[in-house]
Symmetry: C2
Subunit: 276 residues, 2 copies
């Protein structure tokens, strides 16, 4: 197989990374994709960095052995704590979801006050602050930027329950996001792959004056840019999507439809990666 | 060590089982307890029976090797799918949280319509229906009983967030529990160890005409009864509590205080049980 026709490998702790699959497919319809959702150990967002790193390494190794040309870490928590390690250990390009979102935030802010919402682990890691301030220094803006981060643990179960715009979602958003209203924040990064499902509710809560950054979309752009740069864009007419989960394919399939629509999922298999 | 002074072993997927610890301690203050919370793989409620059984076996083996006199499976999901297997494989008494709750429900109902709420996995297993109908047959009432079960996935993250009685909790309860109002259900089993934290909100939603069964309390009574019957009640003045988690002791400690109060937790250690 030609290098450029090899699949893109994508992993997430569960179904959330399907927002990234959706955007990559929209930007690059001829790419084959192998997706791994670690549903036996989901969620990562409440776990320690050590454990998230261990799980991420196993996921990466499994995908690497499938012969991928590029690895996308489509999980904010895993990107936040394990990206430098994976980049060190794997000899193909590795893209996470944090840097693309951070760069977009720096590009969009006018007030210099950037909000970030994510899981407990992502927020605690400080990875977005770091990536945003690094990106800003590159543009000579480091000094004037301020990052306000807030964990929103209930957004993931709300998204998985399919409660995107009901009263419970609205009230939860109101409680979590009230500190972002009227405090000068003009950009809010959705720092968890589940959150784009709640986009309408989040936008309504913070108001139209705040730009929402969808890291899935930014990541797809970054993937496109990198593949172009390396001459690795596929023009295959026979692109396939293979999905693997570590547990409960039935539930993945059901919740997956919420993310990708009725016909979105390709072949789905269950795999044991605990020995990788 | 005398057999009766050996500790009681208790495991749960995370912090939820602390409601059982609390009730056992209230009933039996002189018992030593070893608690294992499998926080590296929490939650069990969205996982497949095969995976829950694998994890439960490892938890049980870890506790058994600590020299316990009795094993309490303080997790409804694990009780629902792995109890017969654990009883088969372990040579000490094993008590789950489902049978005590089911028995109490049969005792309390007058209309014969019993509601059960729990995780997706617990509800799907049908374990409560089975235990309730078995208990009723023992009393010659099998034919006249009806069980209505409903998964309430958001109750666990709500409890862990500490949102027991706010508007979000109330509205979520309203959506999940409306089918229990005015349909003749007079007993509702809280079939997940997290749910007692939301007791007030649940009671308010279904009304005072419905009796709530707290499986933690019923399980503690069953533990007391069994130990009495076997002459294994400890009267030690030096009872100790040891807590083990498989990940993130910091978070366990924080959320644990919600369950047991400021001074509730004893020694807390982290342990790797993936090779058990």
């Amino acid at each position: 197989m030609k290098e450029k026709d090899k699949p893109i490998g994508i992993f997430d702790s569960g179904v959330g990374g399907l927002t990234v699959v959706k955007e990559i497919t929209r930007h690059l319809p001829n790419e084959s994709i192998i997706y791994l959702g670690d549903t036996a150990r989901v969620p990562y967002g409440i776990k320690s960095p050590e454990t998230v790193i261990k799980y991420s390494r196993q996921n990466a190794k499994f995908l690497k052995e499938k012969g991928i040309k590029l690895l996308v870490v489509a999980c904010n928590t895993s990107s936040a704590v394990s990206l430098p390690i994976l980049r060190d250990e794997i000899d193909i390009p590795v893209i996470g979801v944090i840097e693309p979102g951070a760069r977009a935030a720096v590009r969009c802010t006018k007030t210099g006050r950037i909000g970030v919402i994510g899981t407990e682990a992502t927020v605690k890691s400080g990875a977005y602050e770091k990536a945003i301030l690094q990106g800003a220094r590159g543009k000579g803006q480091g000094a004037r930027l301020e990052v306000i981060a807030k964990p929103c643990p209930l957004f993931v179960p709300l998204a998985e329950e399919g409660w995107f715009e009901n009263e419970v979602a609205e009230m939860t958003a109101e409680i979590y996001l009230k500190s972002f209203k009227g405090n000068g924040v003009d950009v809010l990064v959705l720092g968890c792959t589940h959150y784009p499902l709640l986009k309408k509710t989040i936008q309504k809560t913070v108001g139209n004056g705040v730009i929402l950054i969808d890291s899935a979309e930014e990541t797809a752009r970054e993937v496109e840019g990198l593949l172009k740069e390396k001459g690795l864009i596929s023009n295959s007419e026979s692109a396939v999507k293979d999905f693997y989960v570590t547990d409960n394919p039935e539930r993945f399939s059901k919740v997956g439809k919420v993310f990708l629509g009725e016909n979105g999922l390709g072949r789905l298999s269950i795999v044991d990666i605990s020995s990788y």
